[in-house]
């Protein structure tokens, strides 16, 4: 017979376990633990309330204590927080990652294949840019967030375009109907830019290194098929497509404001709202501010599609993502919340709160009523979410592998190429400079 002596430690453990088992289960208010979230602090006043309410509803239902920090992207505070949390391997459970961040932190993010499969089934497929940015090695790294996601297409002055360039943007992009934009090409845009410049209302397209400038350059380069690095990671700077894109941009740049190389993300907004320009490339934030500060300008604004180039009609799409850190403490709750936030009703609530600024990446959710109804002028945002899929949504520097593309993007290589060439540098010298820069981004 095997005799076992009961030690003091074992006795305590057994007693504690039996006491726990004997205790009745008490479901407390936050029985399922805590969840901390770092959301992007929205530009649009009051837009944060929608995500806050949705999280609180979910927290009350699931008995999870939710705490939210709204972190601004002003001064790159969100990027600094992401870098700090990644270094410390501690922080929020869920974070709102800007465009390139999921790929950069791929090995620190919890895969979300299970919930993405469910969401794609529910909301339809996501566009290729989302897949390019948030899927690595066959795994989904993050869920596309509607909050903060945007298309930076043209926002034109109806009156100035009609008067000086002879282009009726409303007829070209009628509210509620598919676009009739076959004639809206890069050449047509160049002619319109010249006409508006001569009339004293130049197009407000910046040539600086901040996102708005780089996004436009990226889309125009892609319209020529001008990739600086191909999908396999090969440098392809010295190609005819890149030369064509630069030649085109040089022609366009002469009709842009002379200070365009110094423009940042706010410059184009201010330019349009002040009534100085006939077109900018921006999400509807400029229109929303104009509605408040310069209603006579807002009434004349129409958001529409990009012009097409030899290789297609590309529009800059900048998505945000909700990702779960793999060191997060409550991953199952985090996944449950992301599913809740990605339900069609939740997405519609957030899009409405942003007055149509936020864009869902799922195919079935690009025709919400808000875009049809927002105004004045009514229907000004109808074509903003690309409802008829007549544009290819892309991000500058794609299709280069994201870890290389992010460097091309953040260093503003394309706009720097344009400015160098525009300021008189020989084309081949500009290409050689860009090639050398891009080769430097290949390091792992």
């Amino acid at each position: 017979m095997l005799k076992r002596k009961m030690s003091r430690r074992r006795f305590l453990a057994t007693t504690a376990a039996s006491t726990t088992l004997a205790m009745p289960f008490v479901r407390r208010a936050y029985a399922a633990g805590k969840l901390s979230i770092g959301f992007w602090d929205h530009w649009v006043p009051g837009a944060n309330n929608a995500s806050k309410e949705l999280c609180e509803q979910w927290g009350a239902k699931e008995k999870v204590e939710v705490s939210i920090d709204y972190i601004t992207s002003q001064g790159n505070k969100n990027l600094l927080t992401i870098a700090a949390e990644a270094q410390a391997r501690s922080g929020h459970d869920i974070f709102a990652f800007p465009t390139w961040q999921p790929a950069d932190h791929a090995n620190r993010l919890e895969p979300v294949d299970d919930i993405m499969a469910e969401l794609i089934k529910l909301n339809g497929p996501v566009n290729k840019t989302v897949e390019y940015l948030a899927r690595a090695n066959g795994k989904w790294l993050a869920v596309p967030a509607c909050v903060g996601s945007q298309i930076k297409g043209p926002c034109s002055r109806i009156d100035l375009m009609k008067k000086h360039a002879g282009i009726d943007v409303v007829a070209m992009y009628p509210a509620g109907s598919p676009p009739k934009a076959d004639a809206w090409t890069l050449d047509a845009m160049l002619k319109a830019a010249e006409a508006c410049h001569k009339a004293g209302f130049p197009f407000g397209i910046g040539l600086g290194v901040t996102e708005d400038n780089v996004d436009t350059a990226g889309a125009i380069f892609q319209s020529f098929g001008a990739d600086l690095v191909d999908a396999k990671g090969n440098v392809s700077v010295k190609t005819d497509a890149v030369r064509q894109a630069l030649e085109y941009y040089k022609k366009l740049a002469q009709w842009l404001p002379p200070d365009a190389p110094a423009w940042d993300n706010a410059s184009n907004n201010k330019y349009l709202i002040a009534g100085k320009g006939a077109l900018i490339m921006n999400p509807p934030s400029a229109w929303a501010v104009a509605k408040r500060d310069a209603p006579q300008v807002a009434e004349q604004l129409w958001t529409h599609g990009m012009p097409s180039g030899p290789k297609g009609r590309y529009a800059p799409f900048l998505p945000y993502f909700w990702g779960i850190w793999n060191f997060g403490k409550n991953k199952s709750a985090a996944k449950s919340l992301l599913v809740h936030l990605s339900q069609p009703a939740a997405i519609e609530k957030m899009v409405n709160a942003s007055f149509g600024y936020d864009l869902p990446a799922f195919e079935k959710l690009t025709t919400l009523k808000v875009w049809e109804e927002e105004g004045p002028p009514k229907g000004t945002l109808y074509h903003y979410p690309n409802p008829h899929n007549h544009q290819i949504l892309s991000v500058a520097a794609a299709p280069a592998p994201p870890k290389i593309a992010v460097q091309i993007y953040t260093q503003g290589i394309q706009t720097k190429m344009v400015v160098r060439f525009m300021q008189g540098e020989a084309l081949e010298k500009t290409l050689a400079w860009a090639e050398s820069e891009v080769e430097g981004f290949m390091r792992t």
């Binding site: 790159n76 990027l79 600094l80 870098a83 270094q87 390139w100 961040q101 950069d104 090995n107 600086g208 290194v209 901040t210 404001p257 002379p258 200070d259 365009a260 190389p261 110094a262 423009w263 940042d264 410059s267 201010k270 330019y271 002040a274 100085k276 870890k403 992010v406 460097q407 953040t410 260093q411 720097k416 400015v419 160098r420 400079w433 050398s436 820069e437 430097g440 390091r443 792992t444």
Partner: protein, 311 residues
Amino acid sequence: MVDAVLKAPAVAGSAPRRSALRRTLQRKSTIAFLMTLPLILLVVLLVLYPAFYAVHLATLNKSMERFVGFGNFQFLFKRETFWMVVQQSCIFAITAVIFKALIGFIVAHFVHNVPGNKQRRWRGMLLVPWVIPPAMSCLAWLWLFDPSYSAFNWVLEKLSVGPVPWTGDAYWARFSVILVNVWIGAPFFMIMYLAALKSVPEQLYEAAAIDGANWWQRMWYVTIPMMRNIMAITALFSLIVTFANFDIVRILTAGGPLDRTHVFATWAFWIGIQGNDIPLGAAVSLFMVPILTVAAIFILRDIHRRASEMS
């Protein structure tokens, strides 16, 4: 009874120990150490630890998974932009320090000659640029230099002078960031030089006047030699701060156009945080150390030599 017997030797033994402790605590060096201890701890925590951590980061590969030794530095040496940043940082720091010193010197003399009762008011007003948080004053400068709505350009237009691309052209942008740095930093030089001027014994000027020295000779043979140590220390301090400047360039030009105004700190931030290449960003930021060390060695050696000569 027993307790009392046991306690007696303990009391007898602790008395000398306590007095030794008291003597140690009363020593000037101990008091000085204890008083500076909070600062030492802060320096260790907020300066030394991050500095060593930056060295560690600079030896990792881009994804921070592998030790690459000096790989990041070797990579930087081959980059055209890096050498441009080195050149710009030197131009920015040296030019700004020279102008700050020059303006500070001239203004200090003006203020020194203002009658005593009005001097305090002038001193206060002239210190304003230095005491305003730089991020705030830089925003005001940003509006003055704004590409499309520059107040300066508005005035220039009224005078029928064409608009100046303050932040849109490489040379003007460099001029603008240096100008703002000088505007913010010159009062510091002014106040230091003013303090130095006040410490120059009046008898020296009287003796020089008796010898028939003119204004220039009094300046050259009395004022400047008496101020040299303060001038050197102020220049060194300012050089370090200006080299490490971040806010002015970041707010006014963000390093543009075409990277022509980047300095070490802004380029390190751009690469490290925005480009998510933290090891390379750390390597860039560490480049300030050898440059500033060399400058510090030369300046401090000069001060030490003069102090020895004077004593």
